[in-house]
Symmetry: C3
């Protein structure tokens, strides 16, 4: 894949400074790029590499243009330019259509002729696999599940019965979508299991990370709306609903029946308690625990930055002393 800089500039929405007939074929980091590569500069910390880059062209903001020793593709958000350039120059390499002879396709499964199903994958009765879908090896698609056009599943993905997946989704290896929610009722000293008869519905353009788990609903469906991006090792419990274009980093845990708005961002390790509602455009910073509904857009935090251990221990001790004191003892003097 090679494009001229003129074509690239138009594709990514940048203003070209340099020879539009020159061609590039790959993206590369500033300090490693060579002839035929296009690079980018977004983070000021990498500015030092600009002068010495071997790239044929660099995507950058106007503020760096004067320093650029090679062809420049100027646009406000250079990182977005890089993303677009990478998407153009490094397109997904599709699998050859067809069903591997070692796949198990049950009678009554419907598989589009342009789809591919890898070796040792199972597609159960009633499942529907759309056009250009790619299913890796060792996957499981349960009965009556559906995977819509152009969606890709990595190796060892489990899609349980009745789950529906939209178009152009990407499900990384090992993800489990539609296992039973953790529904239990206490019956004296023991737990009884509540059948989980809801499903899971993923919209279009959803990405699910490796070994992430999304549980089926208890009565209704768990819903992941269009454009949601979820990283690895995330837990989404039963009956959660996640709004469009929300992004969720790794190791997040979302409890049952939580409703998350659109365009939210949850950083790594965040936990959200059950039955809460999170408004649109909420950002939760790393390792915070959300215990109340959030009704307004904004940034929310609850995590502590690590310090050198003796200092941290002093903080802990100080708070414990404070917590042992009756509130009014300190308060009256100051408030």
């Amino acid at each position: 894949m090679a494009v001229t800089l003129a074509e690239l500039a138009e594709h990514i929405g940048a203003e070209l400074h340099g020879d539009g007939t020159c061609t590039v074929g790959a993206v590369a980091a500033l300090e490693r790029a060579g002839h035929g590569d296009v690079s980018f500069l977004q983070n000021r910390a990498f500015r030092k590499f600009l002068k010495v880059t071997g790239a044929s062209a660099v995507i950058l903001g106007e503020e760096f243009l004067r320093e650029c020793p090679v062809a420049a593709l100027v646009m406000e958000d250079a990182y977005l330019g890089y993303a677009r350039a990478a998407g153009l120059l490094h397109p997904h390499n599709p699998r050859v259509p067809g069903i591997d002879p070692a796949a198990r396709i049950e009678a009554g499964a419907m598989i589009a002729s342009s789809a591919s199903v890898g070796a040792f994958s199972v597609v159960e009765a009633g499942a529907r696999i759309g056009e250009e879908v790619e299913i890796g090896p060792n996957c499981f698609i349960g009965r009556d599940a559906s995977v819509d056009a152009c969606t890709c599943l990595g190796a060892g993905v489990t899609i349980c019965h009745g789950v529906t997946i939209g178009r152009r989704c990407i499900i990384q290896a090992g993800a489990v979508i539609g296992a039973d929610g953790f529904g239990l009722a206490r019956d004296r000293d023991r737990w009884i299991k509540i059948p989980q008869i809801g499903g899971v519905r993923l919209g279009d353009d959803v990405e699910i990370g490796a070994n992430t788990t999304i549980d089926r609903g208890a009565l209704e469906d768990t819903i992941i709306e269009n454009g949601v991006k979820i990283d690895n090792l995330v837990q989404v419990a039963h009956n959660v609903r996640i709004g469009e274009h929300t992004a969720i980093a790794a190791c997040v845990g979302i409890s049952g029946s939580v409703v998350i708005g659109k365009r939210c961002m949850l950083a790594g390790g965040v936990g959200i308690a059950g039955h809460l509602e999170i408004a649109d455009d909420v950002v939760v910073t790393g390792m915070s625990m959300v215990t109340k509904s959030i009704t307004e857009a904004g940034t929310y935090s609850g995590g502590w930055a690590a310090q050198v251990a003796p200092q941290w221990r002093r903080n802990v001790a100080a708070l414990r002393r404070l917590g042992r004191r009756p509130p009014q003892g300190n308060g009256t003097a100051h408030e």
Copy 2:
């Protein structure tokens, strides 16, 4: 599956107010239920849906009886009633017994005739699979492992060599039971691995969530007692022992050699440090870290509720100021 309200009332232990010959065939949420459905009302927040429900009957507490426009099944714990009704009306749909021709059963494995083994699963020599056990596709049952009667394994479950699983357990997709514990000894600047020669024993009626990992013991076995319920993406390290009917929510991490009592509840994201003992009937709230043994029943916490970021930053700054001050400086004036 359809039952009369009289049968249902008896099965769940409720007092029927209404026509006992009317039949229901499914459970459904109050606001979505239609003719032939039974619903329930436990949480006061859903009371508004009671008046307008389309359900044929509703399981509820006595306090809501007067408002119920349809047949009522009155019992103290309506949620338990719902669980029992759902179990009756939505029984597990068993796989057809038999070994898939594409499963690999090694010589010397014993598989009951009423068991089922899915495609592309491997059962190694010496393994024993009990009556009515269901093993999904792409599972691995290592040598000399045993899975007792009526236990169900989802897709892609790994049961390592020598692990024993009791009766009526449910192991969700992707769980790994019996991988090596993280046993290392420092030998100058490097680590040497300690062979993990213990096993894992699960009792009866245990549920293990999707992609959860339970490590084999170093010398002795890791033990999960009867009735324990574990959610998704939980880590149980080597030589842990978890007491009967304890429930563990998602994303919990339990370090090596921890002993947890009976009927405990660990909320999501809890971490427990190594070699601790936790008494019976202990509740640990979300994202708490347990660093000392807990000898008394009760509720324990260590997590911080997220706040809007500027307020949270003020808290952090306040504690850091406090931690920098010598303890007596503040203490003398107030204590």
Copy 3:
């Protein structure tokens, strides 16, 4: 496997007190050991078992020698002695070399004759599998990946295209190495995916835990150096570099482009924010969040120990009161 105590003493580097011709064949815990077993005493809490042990020999420090009723193998670090003894007496039980007839080996894959590949595993074109490598069942080795000599993969391991794994590594079941990093760029209200064209390189003697995920790099490779040991359910994001002999406990999350030094130890549940550098010989205690680069060796903390809930709530309330007060309001009176 049985060795004389003289041989064992030499192998582990201990001084033997007792009959060097006596043989032992297994390691066992002090309180469970019987004739023919060798045990160890490191933790003072187990001292009570020394007097009554049934072991044929005990590895211990000099301070316990007088109390030892059986043959003693004296060395400073008895735990290391135990590790070495266990490694000698319980060697890994290798799979029989050969490719299972139900494995799928694509044309152009190179597999050493002494390697084994389990049933229902897929090795794609261009992949290289070294001497004595063991690949469990249901694994996936993508195109052009390589697994070097004597490395073992458990069941259901995914090694994506182009990933390279060194010698003598152990990859536990369900691990996913080389799935796409979580690379997104915001394009107005939606996210666009950034192709992840880097790879993953694991050095020699690396261990990766069950269901752990290590993402491929965006442009460059994610790198795990020699001797790194990673526990279960750990997330390593794209472009992370982890230095030699660093050990990482379960449930840790490491964000993109983090560089971790040599011989570090991250306890369970730690989170590290993106683009940070961590020096050599850094220890981070459980459930701490690292938000700034760490430039000096030492121990760092940010986790809170759980307390009984009412006390914990008082701490939380006290901090919130403090955080609401202007900093100088308190400071002037006391400092």
